[in-house]
Amino acid sequence: MSASLEKGINALKEQVDSTVASFFSSCVHCGICSEACLFYTETGCPTSTPIHKAEPLRRIWKSEYTLLGRVGKMFGLTAKVDEEMLTKWETRVYDNCTLCGRCSMVCPMGIDIALLIRKTREGMAAAGHAPEDLIGATKRAVTIGSPMGVKLPALLAQIKHVEKDTGLKIPLDVEGAEYMLLLSSMEIMNFPEFIGAIAKIFTKAGVSWTISSEAFEATNSGIQIGVADIAAELVQRIVDAAEKLKVKTVISPECGHAYMAIRWEGPNLVGKPFSFKVRHILEILDEFRKDGRLKITGKETQRLTYHDPCQISRRGGVIEQPRKLIDMFSDNFVEMPDHGKMNWCCGAGGGVSSNERADEVRLKVFQRKKDQLDEIKPDAIVSACSNCRIHLEDGLEEYNMDIPLLSLTETLAEHLAE
């Protein structure tokens, strides 16, 4: 066995706990999960059946943690994990799964299949079977601090622009601020308006906030590729900055997996509870709304819908807040079929958008979102994840659809009363 394969197998072993064992013990091969996965429904390819993607982890569980599997292993009857298998599974696990978790919602046995695939990635990455592009993004995240290679000077330059445009000060490294805002590289480079929107809303709401120059990146490539050590290191940077600035709450921006990384996986990765709270920006805005801190003027008359980013809604628990916030500035809101916790993924989460090899399939499976949109024909789509936003724009263009994408935070800021 090669050293890398051994590493991979050990990483898979580390992933096995009572949840994994109960999940694999319960699978009856009913195939219902395939119908919940856009990578199957839009391609008809049976290798994209969600539970099948976790097969490497299942084999390790079976051969190492069950009596029958161990006996079978002695006689060479239990299926093994080898290089050839992992090579085959690489595209299944990384290119054809966004970890959206829709399969986990429909399994009649209650198997959290997305969790199993997320865990399978830990073994794949350790064995050297992760996509090159994700490896590159992860390296940049560790060495430069951003998967897209965005350094502090780039952020400072964008802040300067935003300050000029809005006439508002963007607070940097303010000790004792109530909120510390994180940003995704995508927001810094493609949507700096988001920073301006935050400045406007937070100034009106009369709360103190800051951005840390030492840890401003919200995304976590370690989570996407499946390397817990790196994921933990990236989380630790944020923890250090938040503790240094003594902030009460860290805000995860409009990015799906960033929220999953810092809110739900973060404390478990670094091995201790946080001394501060973590909230998604939509949760903060909804708190402002409840406290009467948001004065809104004018309503959007166009027909709006909301695209639920999987890691924020289904996997994150922020489902009601965006609807209440949109209600503040819209009289013409329509839900997509299968919205909220049952929403269909855009097709580019979980590292798929950073993996060029998956470009073709992510645009193909966008057909699912197109069908959803065709049913309700909105004038514009509101969302709260810049990765969804970029991919939705990409997909709409590919399918010759002309529907603008709006950031919830930015749209809300535009409707603030002067």
Partner: protein, 219 residues
């Protein structure tokens, strides 16, 4: 060995061996799962694991509308043969007498002709499930030897039971012995195959609901 001796062995020592393997197997499997343990979640909770877990144990029996539309056959056929198995195993008068012998108490039965009809429907549903498994692209792809084996050991007691009840072909003691033997095969195999889902579904559904419930999502 005479016919009667065979029946006596199957009913006596044979049955005891099967039940011991069945119970020991289930205990071993649960121990295998639960002894692995699970790390405490250090993230600040947004909802309750317990209520989420308990809710999902119940709600996963009822698919959402979209899933029902997409997997209608699997769900309907699945419902039919599960209910059918329950009725034929637990609501058939002679079975209840057997349970009373073993565990000391009984419950009301359904009229025999009703159970007989349910058995036929269940057998048809299981045959349809197999046909579906062999023809559907995804199911064909997923299917392995174990899937076929557990299908066989599930349908055998139904078929042998039906034949024994209607006394087709052989004499009554032999038919009954074969029926009981097929049940023993099912008992012995259950803990070590995917049939174990009959018990572990409670765990897996609980974990699913607990993981989501902790994050404030009803799964």
């Amino acid at each position: 060995m005479t016919e009667i001796e065979f029946l006596n062995w199957v009913r006596g020592p044979g049955f005891q061996i099967a039940v011991v393997i069945f119970i020991a197997g289930i205990i071993i499997r649960f121990a295998e799962i639960l002894l692995l343990g699970r790390k405490t979640n250090l993230a600040e909770a947004k909802g309750s694991e317990m209520s989420g877990g308990l809710r999902t144990i119940v709600t996963r029996s009822f698919p959402d509308r979209g899933t029902f539309q997409r997997s209608t056959f699997t769900i309907v056929a699945g419902y039919i043969f599960h209910i059918g198995l329950f009725v034929t195993i637990f609501l058939f008068a002679p079975h209840i007498l057997m349970f009373k012998d073993v565990i000391g108490f009984s419950w009301p039965s359904l009229p025999t002709p009703v159970v007989d009809a349910v058995a036929v429907v269940t057998i048809i549903a299981l045959l349809a499930v197999l046909a579906h498994r062999m023809s559907n692209t995804v199911l064909k792809f997923l299917t392995n030897t174990e899937d076929l084996l557990v299908w066989l050991v599930t349908i055998l007691p139904l078929i042998t039971g039906y034949i024994a009840f209607h006394r087709i072909g052989m004499t009554a003691p032999s038919l009954l012995a074969i029926h009981i033997l097929s049940v023993e095969l099912l008992l012995v195999i259950l803990p070590f195959t995917k049939l174990m889902h009959a018990f572990t579904f409670v765990l897996s559904r609980w974990y699913n609901g607990a993981i989501s419930g902790y994050r404030g999502v009803e799964s």
